[in-house]
């Protein structure tokens, strides 16, 4: 089993997050509130990549999942997998770390925590998308690769708008 060459894998969930990859006039406050939901998409997304492309089922978010992703990363390094592949898997470890941090460290309704959390989500999702785009560009899925490149650019633009908005607040 392998990933399908279908852009919907990326398009719909990012569209959910205030139409990150569609509209420049999206309500930025609305988008900001929805960012944590993107982590749910990221779980599905990375779990499918790992299950279908690396035969590594990912479950037990975030701690056991992190352990499995890290073990896969170590194995890929030993096997001298391409740098793109290794970087993609390590970005999944980073996402698990973010979830662990959030679960263990954060209070609730803490504006400072929430801002830092959203900033990390933006950073790590951008990293995941960038690394996914770099990795898939080397594979046989041209439609998904084109969507990944487009999504990276749009996500970066939306992140810039969001950061500007955060400074204004």
């Amino acid at each position: 089993m392998a990933l399908k060459d279908d852009p919907v894998l990326l398009r719909r969930p990012l569209g959910f997050a205030g139409r990150v990859n569609a509209a420049e006039d999206a309500d930025l406050d609305d988008l900001r509130e929805r960012l944590p939901g993107l982590l749910k998409f990221a779980r599905t997304f990375v779990a499918e990549i790992l299950a279908q492309e690396f035969n590594t089922p990912l479950a037990g978010f975030p701690i056991p999942a992190r352990a499995r992703a890290a073990a896969l990363g170590a194995r890929l390094k030993r096997e001298r997998a391409s740098p793109e592949t290794q970087r993609l898997v390590m970005s999944i470890v980073d996402l698990c770390d973010l979830e662990i941090d959030r679960r263990e460290m954060s209070g609730e309704d803490d504006e400072e925590d929430d801002d830092a959390y959203r900033e990390h989500i933006l950073d790590l999702l951008q990293r995941l998308l960038d690394r996914f785009a770099a990795w898939i560009d080397r594979t046989r899925l041209p439609r998904l690769a084109a969507e990944a490149t487009r999504t990276c650019q749009q996500f970066a633009a939306a992140s810039d708008r969001l950061r500007e908005r955060s400074k204004e607040r």
Binding site: F16, K40, T44, A59, G60, G107, D109
Partner: protein
Amino acid sequence: MLGRRADHRPIRPPRHHACVAAAIVQVLADSEARHAADALGREAGVRAVCVIGSGARGDFDAASDIDLLALVDDRATADRVRARFPRAVDERAIQLKLVTEAQLTRLFERRSTFGVHVLREGVAVIDYFGAFEALRACHPRDAPVRNNREELLVRLELYDDIAWCQGLYLYCLADLYSIGRSAAFTVLGRQSRFEFSGTRAFDRLRREVPQLAPATERIAELRPFFLLVERDSRQSLPFPARDRHDAASAAVAACHTLVDAIR
């Protein structure tokens, strides 16, 4: 050592168990939780350790984690403890939550389901200076939980159109269980009828709000998906997660029914 420590009676007497095996699991888990709490309490800068979750309620089962909340001096302490403290004892995972006094105060003031659970059910195994219990005493136990309807609707928006799952519904079903369970806690908690175990909240909702019974049952059956995604549990699944668009759509609708019942 300054201050108070709890005695070594069971953290929470076990609830009635239908079989001896379940009671044994409870007693063993109780001992594991106490051992983990004691170890956490020996870390410098930890002021109090509270057992929360199923360990505090006395309804541990084989899939349960040990959930501990620690009150710490500051964030630097939290960082240090996180880096050092093991996340499992024997085969059982340990879930940590490390909070400063300011964070714990906000947690209680906000009256989220989690905050009210800590307030009502948390068992302070260690409280060296009495700070945890002093804070807890400042907040009402019986006031309703906060209305989180809008937050849950935002979470549900992700599943307005589930085509993006591409037929792979495991994570979707797990998340829908989590959303539906949170709605069940809130429906009850808004009326100061507190339940913090998913299974018991669903049972109570089925009994006390019969019009919600079909939606409640629909969500309750998703628990094995949630346990697989969140805890890597190997419970058998009620149906395959792949290509079950009908089941996922029905779960989304059931979640909306429960969320809409929040007043």
